[in-house]
């Protein structure tokens, strides 16, 4: 069942960052363009893309941290309109975010208990101290921070990165959301402890029926933890499909490049040594398919017109003018 869906989401940042003010408006940053994405209950979807391509922006749009420039959000099929008030708060309650950096997502001044108790109180899940206590304990247990008593009164700096990320997850769970968006939840963690956190998220999706969006730049981990993967490039969606199919037979040249570039000691053939240039600027993105300047197989049409979505069956689709050709490189 689709719990949360974003349709044709677009986000242009017009307000200038930093000290630059109103005199002479700056051109907008076209961070996200025409992105549609759906999250299903009990399943993990991954959003993959290189740094700066707009993944976090999509996450924030979905969580309504800021409103989209255009596009719609649907929660359980119902369009979301409210931008303030109770309905809006209710929406936010249902969709929770987990941030990349566990070191900055917990307030260093508050104890674990406070972090978990506040959402319980705000949303009226806990009405007494006693109730609050048991619920906090439950939450900690759910994220495997045991013994519960010991963790409840710790300050964030007394926890390791992995433990903090678990607290952050517990806090998101405290509001009892239906969808959880994890924005690079493990990229700041050491390799050896990433696994635990990812497993926890996977379990939550499976067991509690949460809809989970796993955002990452590491396509290998997406292959392992998500049922389907959506690839993003320079603010636009590129390709999507079940994770195994997508990683093993990519259809879009960019996905292919991404897979080729990812370090992999098991690789049989060494990747070719052509230079691929830099990712484009989002202020003046390339016209047409945004990937065309780096694409080895670009056609003239690629630079003039953005390709529409081509359904490939089995839940796969791509935005590429050559989507019909199974493997343009091999040809």
């Amino acid at each position: 069942m689709i719990v949360l869906e974003g349709r044709n989401l677009t986000k242009h940042f017009t307000s200038a960052r930093g000290p630059r003010g109103r005199l002479g408006r700056r051109p907008p940053v076209r961070a996200v363009e025409d992105v549609s994405i759906a999250l299903r209950a009990g399943s993990v979807s991954a959003l993959v893309g290189e740094s700066g391509c707009g993944k976090s922006t999509v996450a924030r749009l979905l969580a309504q941290v800021y409103p989209a420039t255009s596009g719609d959000l649907l929660l359980r099929g119902e369009p979301v309109r409210a931008h303030r008030g109770a309905a809006f708060r209710d929406y936010r309650r249902q969709v929770q975010l987990i941030f990349q950096d566990p070191f900055s997502s917990l307030n260093p001044f508050h104890r674990v208990r406070y972090h978990l108790a506040r959402p319980l109180r705000i949303h009226g899940h806990a009405r007494s101290d006693e109730q609050e206590r048991t619920m906090v304990a439950e939450l900690l247990e759910r994220v495997s921070l045991t013994p519960v008593e010991q963790f409840m009164d710790k300050l964030p700096h007394e926890l390791s990165g992995g433990q903090r990320q678990r607290v952050a997850i517990a806090r998101a769970l405290a509001v009892q959301p239906v969808a959880l968006i994890a924005d690079e939840p493990v990229s700041m963690l050491d390799v050896s402890i990433r696994l635990g956190v990812l497993r926890l998220l996977e379990e939550l999706a499976k067991e509690s029926g949460l809809a989970l969006l796993y955002i990452t730049h590491d396509i290998a981990s997406a292959r392992y933890f998500a049922e389907d993967i959506t690839v993003m490039y320079a603010g636009r969606l590129i390709e999507s499909g079940p994770s195994e199919a997508l990683t093993q037979s990519p259809r879009h040249p960019y996905t292919r490049l991404l897979l080729e570039s990812a370090p992999d000691p098991d690789r049989v053939t060494p990747p070719d040594a052509t230079r691929h240039g830099e990712p484009p600027s989002l202020i003046a993105p390339p016209g047409g398919c945004r990937f065309h300047p780096r694409c080895t197989v670009a056609l003239p049409v690629c630079s003039s017109e953005a390709p529409g979505r081509t359904e490939l069956g089995e839940g796969r689709w791509t935005h590429c003018w050559q989507a019909e050709t199974p493997d343009p490189v091999a040809r």
Binding site: G161, L195, G196, D266, R267
Partner: protein
């Protein structure tokens, strides 16, 4: 054939609350022209080791023991840690150059890329004319794939990948024998990272320098390095060729690391990871620092400190590698199963 020999090197960070043994008894050899990968979790002492070799440590860091010997091509040996101020200046960059993790921060934001190359040439090659220096700067930039007109750009005008290339160009300025690269690609995305790795390999072929390549991404190291050293809690726990380490890791920690990386190809193997968290360097567990997290720990592991020893059965030596491991399992040979 070693260009750099590190012996029993120890580095402490002194502080009021006690010394942090960031690097302890590390011995490593760097061979001429090879890429030596240095891997390990965050805080395991990789950067500290690199900085100690380049003599870049500042108080409160202090080298407490050991030696670093550099062998020139002509055979003379230099005790790096004993170099005087002027000798050290000449040693740095002529013999040994460094590329830092974040190129944005390692380039002077207020001067142009060209000027920063020029700076090095002016000090170390005082005979070069201004014109020659300018030409050399252009040549270097082009060599790493930056167009000549970028010479007058300030770092903030370059993209991340270009900055990293510029940093490499600066490192190449004097044809050093050794380049230390401390996480040169961590801040970049995979496609750009891939391009830069290619660049490094190609340049190495061309100039023949040796590289110490530091990263915590083991799979990356396995692709680029000739040999790899794994660090844990300030100590080298295993060395070996990339091949050997990939196929038959001998230290349980290496094995754990390898099993933490999801793979892109082949069957989806189960990821095991490593339980627990990295230790606090201020109060290391006694014996093998890894034993609290080690699934195979024996009683002995918590009391005896394993030393780095050559793989006992010499099996690894068969393909020319001479891997070492610091593990008490199997009589000091470490784990005996394929990854």
């Amino acid at each position: 054939m070693n260009v750099l020999e590190i012996r029993d090197l120890g580095v402490d960070y002194l502080s009021q609350t006690g010394a942090v043994h960031a690097v302890a008894d590390v011995s490593l050899d760097l061979r001429r022209g090879e890429i030596l990968g240095l891997a390990g979790e965050s805080g395991s002492g990789k950067s500290t080791l690199a900085n100690a070799v380049a003599r870049l440590l500042r108080p409160p860091a202090a080298i407490t023991s050991g030696s670093v010997v550099y062998h020139r091509q002509d055979g003379t040996a230099v005790d790096v840690l004993a170099l005087k101020r002027d000798e050290l200046r000449a040693f740095r960059w002529k013999e040994l150059a460094v590329v830092f993790q974040s190129a944005m921060n390692s380039l002077n934001p207020v001067s142009t890329v060209g000027a920063q190359i020029d700076d090095v040439l002016r000090i170390h090659a005082p005979k070069m004319s201004r014109k020659d220096r300018a030409e050399r700067a252009v040549e270097l930039l082009q060599r790493v794939g930056i167009s000549a007109d970028r010479r007058r750009s300030y770092p903030h005008e370059l993209s991340g990948g270009m900055r990293q290339r510029a940093a490499i160009a600066i490192a190449l300025a004097l044809n050093p024998e050794v380049i230390i690269m401390d996480e040169p690609t961590t801040a970049l995305d995979v496609v750009v990272q891939r391009d830069i790795l290619h660049e490094i390999r190609a340049l190495r072929e061309e100039y023949g320098f040796a590289v110490v390549f530091i990263t915590h991404d083991l799979s990356l190291l396995m692709e680029i390095s000739d040999r790899i050293a794994i660090m844990y809690a300030g100590r080298v726990v295993e060395t070996g060729t990339a091949e050997a380490l990939h196929r038959t890791p001998r230290h349980p920690y290496t094995l754990g690391l390898l099993r933490s990386f999801p793979r892109l190809h082949g069957p989806r193997e189960e990821l095991l990871g490593i339980p627990g968290t990295p230790p606090d360097l201020r109060s290391l567990p006694p014996g093998c620092a890894f034993h609290p997290r080690c699934g195979r720990a024996m009683e002995e592991c918590s009391t005896r400190l394993p030393l780095l020893t050559r793989g006992a059965d010499g099996a690894d030596g068969a393909d020319g590698s001479d891997g070492e491991v610091a593990c008490l399992l199997n009589g000091g040979r470490g784990v005996e199963e394929a990854s």
